[in-house]
């Protein structure tokens, strides 16, 4: 791991556990601002986060799945802060990878601004290991906010979507929103004075900090009771102003309205049509019948570009074939 806090850059080998990276950052008052989920590495709810306190995180048993930096980039998933601070891909500065021919390649770098060559580094984010094996990644990091506060408001879904969009158009220090079952949670982060001023503007009931931390962590790691049952879990990414979706099942809304989690037995076509209507796409995130594909079908012209890119970086088709789409 190579970490320069004043450069706002961390470079690490792909197998480095995310927990190690996050601990090193926290020690210097910085963070991965896209809040990647660590599915599998979970600090116990009452233990302080790594780097704070006495490091009393239980050492992970070897058989436990430990989220790594490479996996985080390849999965391309971002947490609650995404709508307000950016996604994984927004913070990737450079990568070293092995392509399907075994060539050891470096793209991007360790500086904030770099337009030399195509942006292959960001292309790796979310490519699920189908284009290359990541060896090393450089990420932009940012300071931890001085203070955070969470508010809870009660409203119906339509009001929640309207409010989240209205707030996002105002200079408020919002860093997360989540709506489920009549409760709208809003997280504010930044300078103490700014957070205090925003609390006055938004109203609602302040949530106790420990409880707030557990709540946002539950959404980030999908340990929140919403995610518990065995119904198929869909992820619909769409225009944030899309009105409430008239779909069977239960929903949790994040990202100011731009991300809708749906637990539903609805068939794939119904869900995908709803996502298309909202200008976005739907992924069958967990469980359910995957025969209609996990990811939203691509338009033919776009699929052709995907196939050609795959062919370019992995001509023999040996890197995670069929993981993203059946045809490559």
């Amino acid at each position: 791991m190579d970490y320069e806090p004043t450069e706002l850059v961390i470079t690490a080998r792909a197998g480095t556990p995310l927990a190690e990276i996050e601990a090193a950052l926290r020690e210097k008052g910085q963070m991965l601002v896209f809040e990647p989920p660590r599915f599998g590495y979970l600090p116990s709810p009452l233990a302080p986060l790594p780097g704070l306190g006495e490091g009393n995180i239980e050492p992970a048993a070897p058989e436990k799945r430990i989220a790594t930096l490479g996996g985080c980039i390849a999965a391309g998933l971002s947490g609650p802060r995404r709508a307000y601070a950016g996604a994984v891909r927004d913070f990737v500065l450079g990568v070293r990878l092995l392509d399907g021919k075994g060539s050891d390649l470096r793209f991007g770098g360790q500086v904030m601004k770099n337009v030399a060559g195509y942006d292959v580094s960001r292309l790796m984010a979310g490519s699920l290991g189908t284009l290359g094996v990541l060896l090393e990644v450089s990420l932009k990091v940012l300071p931890l906010p001085a203070t955070e506060a969470t508010l809870k408001l009660q409203c119906i879904e339509r009001e929640a979507i309207a409010m989240m969009n209205e707030w996002a158009g105002k200079p408020l220090p919002i860093t997360a929103t989540a709506y489920c079952d009549g409760d709208l949670g809003v997280r504010l982060s930044g300078a103490r004075t700014a957070v205090a001023a925003a609390i006055k503007k938004l109203g609602g009931i302040p949530v106790e900090p420990g409880q707030a931390e557990r709540f946002w962590n539950g959404i980030r790691e999908q340990t929140d009771p919403f995610f518990a049952t065995g119904l198929p879990l869909w992820r619909l990414s769409m225009k944030p102003t899309t009105p409430p979706l008239n779909l069977p099942g239960k929903q949790l809304i994040e990202w100011g309205g731009a991300l809708r989690w749906l637990k539903s037995e609805a068939d794939a076509k119904t869900v995908r049509d709803a996502a298309t209507y909202g200008g976005g796409h739907a992924t069958l995130f967990r469980d359910g019948n995957k025969s209609a594909g996990v990811f939203h079908p691509l338009a033919p012209a776009l699929l052709k570009i995907h196939q050609r890119l795959k062919q370019t970086l992995d001509p023999a088709g040996i890197l995670n074939p069929g993981r993203m789409y059946h045809s490559f």
Binding site: E4, P5, T6, E7, L8, Q30, G76, G86, R89, D90, D99, S103, L105, R106, G109, V111, K113, N114, V115, A116, G117, Y118, D119, V120, R122, L123, G126, S127, L142, L144, N165, E166, A168, G169, K170, P171, P173, G190, A191, T193, A194, A196, S237, M238, P240, T241, G278, G279, G280, H281, T283, F295, L302, I305, H306, R308, L309, T312, L313, Y325
Partner: protein, 496 residues
């Protein structure tokens, strides 16, 4: 200024064929080929390189763009797309055997959505026009390249343009939602979505900054941000560039991400002060401008902390803008830096490397040594927060040999940026200008990958060929070795 040495004579028979094919579906006035008509397109903002295009096409609709591309693809005619032509790396330099595809007529703001905070615009819309259209809604488009009054959003996408606020608000790539792109085969693909991500690979990232080599953008959906409630700027003066460089690192180390953090050396402040009277001290080695934006409370708090860091870093003096007029005056100087330097020298050559912030002092010292070596002056303006340097080399093109010396000087600065772990271009693009230095920044395997990616979009390499990515043959001729982060491939071998 010199013409490009290898400027090719136009093949008249070929031109007749291409003009006839395009006029089959375009109005006569939309297809230009007379020398006097195509002359305005002979260069972009990098005017040292000039070439008359064979034909200029001025479509008005997406369908026309597609038909032009389909026609050129069928006839194997190369195509160079162009917005306002303000680019600084020769990315829109025409080809003597090609069609120059101007998107100048695509000037419509199709839709501004205040609730979803996005704007859908045609590629020829000027960067600033988007923010102007969004202003009544309390919104703006964040990336603000210095040419924002003239440059177009299509060009911004092609170059992944930055600006003075990108440390906090990101580059073009961070502020796009969706593109409509015409392929060389004449089809349309939609890349991105109206949500925050899209299915499949992140082609939005790949397309942004691809310098017109992968497709032609026909519509852009950008994110809009709420106007900050308040902004103030601290101006700090230093008697040493190294101290000013350290102050930049100390601001970041204090956990502050300023809205803008700019540095100018003495040569730059002297030129600016004579030209724009911004109130800069000219008796100091460097000045920093550090802006804070947000709520009144946030800004008051952050400005205090910034001032404190500057003073502890050895600033001779710090000054906080007292009102909006003064804030704008402080910025007016920085924004006038290029024309100001233009006013003290017949010509100047703008470089665009990025380096790790901690190497600023060292790099500026080595640039001073290079000034002596080449007998040329250099003024430095610098997006210090991002580590993005803009050394401006002053020269006179009418003095025999000066341009060549300037280019050699510039080339050494770029290689210096690479040696300290940086890049040859932070925001201006490679174009034709930095194509040789690409051979130093990347190895042959990476360059081959870039070519293969291009062919995945453009099999016959008809879109802006010869720009952005050098051929391996060219690198062999240039004869410079790939150096990664100061390390040669075989550091133990003796080199002579």
């Amino acid at each position: 200024m010199r013409p490009v040495a290898e400027a090719a004579p136009v093949d008249l028979a070929r031109r007749r064929e291409v003009v006839a094919a395009l006029r089959a579906f375009l109005p006569e006035a939309s297809v230009l080929f007379d020398e006097e008509d195509v002359k305005p397109y002979e260069c972009d903002g990098l005017s040292a390189y000039r070439q008359l295009p064979m034909v200029v096409a001025l479509p008005e609709t997406e369908e026309q763009v597609c038909r032009i591309l389909r026609t050129c693809h069928g006839m194997r005619v190369p195509v160079v797309a162009r917005g306002a032509g303000t680019g600084l790396s020769g990315g829109a330099l025409p080809l003597g055997n090609g069609v120059l595809l101007s998107l100048a007529k695509f000037m419509r703001i199709v839709e501004v959505d205040p609730q979803a905070r996005s704007a859908r615009v045609q590629p020829g819309v000027r960067n600033l026009a988007i923010s102007e259209a969004a202003a009544p809604l309390g919104l703006y488009y964040a990336p603000d390249p210095s040419s924002q009054i003239a440059c177009t959003i299509g060009g911004n996408v092609a170059e992944n343009s930055g600006g003075v606020h990108c440390l906090k608000y990101g580059l073009t790539v961070h502020n796009l939602l969706k593109l409509r792109v015409a392929t060389i085969e004449g089809g349309i693909v939609e890349i991105g979505s109206e949500g925050l991500d899209a299915a499949g690979y992140d082609l939005l990232a790949l397309m942004t900054g691809s310098e017109g080599l992968l497709g032609v953008v026909t519509e852009v959906t950008v994110k809009l941000l709420p106007d900050p409630e308040f902004a103030q700027v601290v101006m700090a003066a230093f008697d040493d560039v190294g101290k000013a460089g350290n102050a930049v690192a100390n601001v970041i180390a204090a956990g502050i991400i300023p809205a803008g953090l700019e540095m100018m050396d003495q040569a730059a402040t002297r030129a600016v002060e004579d030209f724009a009277h911004a109130g800069y001290r000219t008796d100091v080695a460097a000045i920093l401008l550090c802006e804070s934006d947000g709520t009144q409370e946030e800004v008051a708090d952050e400005i205090r902390r910034i001032q404190d860091v500057m003073e502890k870093s050895g600033a001779l003096q710090t000054q906080v803008s007292r009102d909006e007029a003064e804030r704008l005056r402080f910025w007016a100087g920085r924004k006038a830096a290029f024309p100001a330097v233009g006013s003290i020298s017949p010509d100047y050559y703008c470089m665009d490397g990025t380096i790790p912030r901690k190497r600023v002092g060292e790099v500026l010292r080595r640039i001073t040594e290079l000034e002596k070596k080449y007998g040329l002056r250099c003024a430095n303006v610098f997006h210090a927060g991002d580590g993005n340097l803009h050394p401006l080399i002053l020269y006179d093109a009418n003095q025999p040999g000066e341009l060549q010396r300037t280019e050699a000087f510039g080339g050494e600065i770029l290689e210096l940026c690479l040696q300290v772990g940086g890049t040859i271009t932070g925001e201006h693009g490679v174009g034709v200008e930095k194509i040789n230095q690409m051979c130093v920044q990347f190895g042959s395997l990476e360059l081959e990958t870039f070519h293969a990616i291009k062919r995945a979009f453009d099999e016959h390499e008809l879109l802006n060929p010869g720009k952005a990515v050098p051929t391996l043959h060219r690198c062999a001729e240039f004869g410079r070795m790939h150096v990664h982060a100061g390390r040669e491939k075989f550091p133990d071998l003796p080199r002579f």
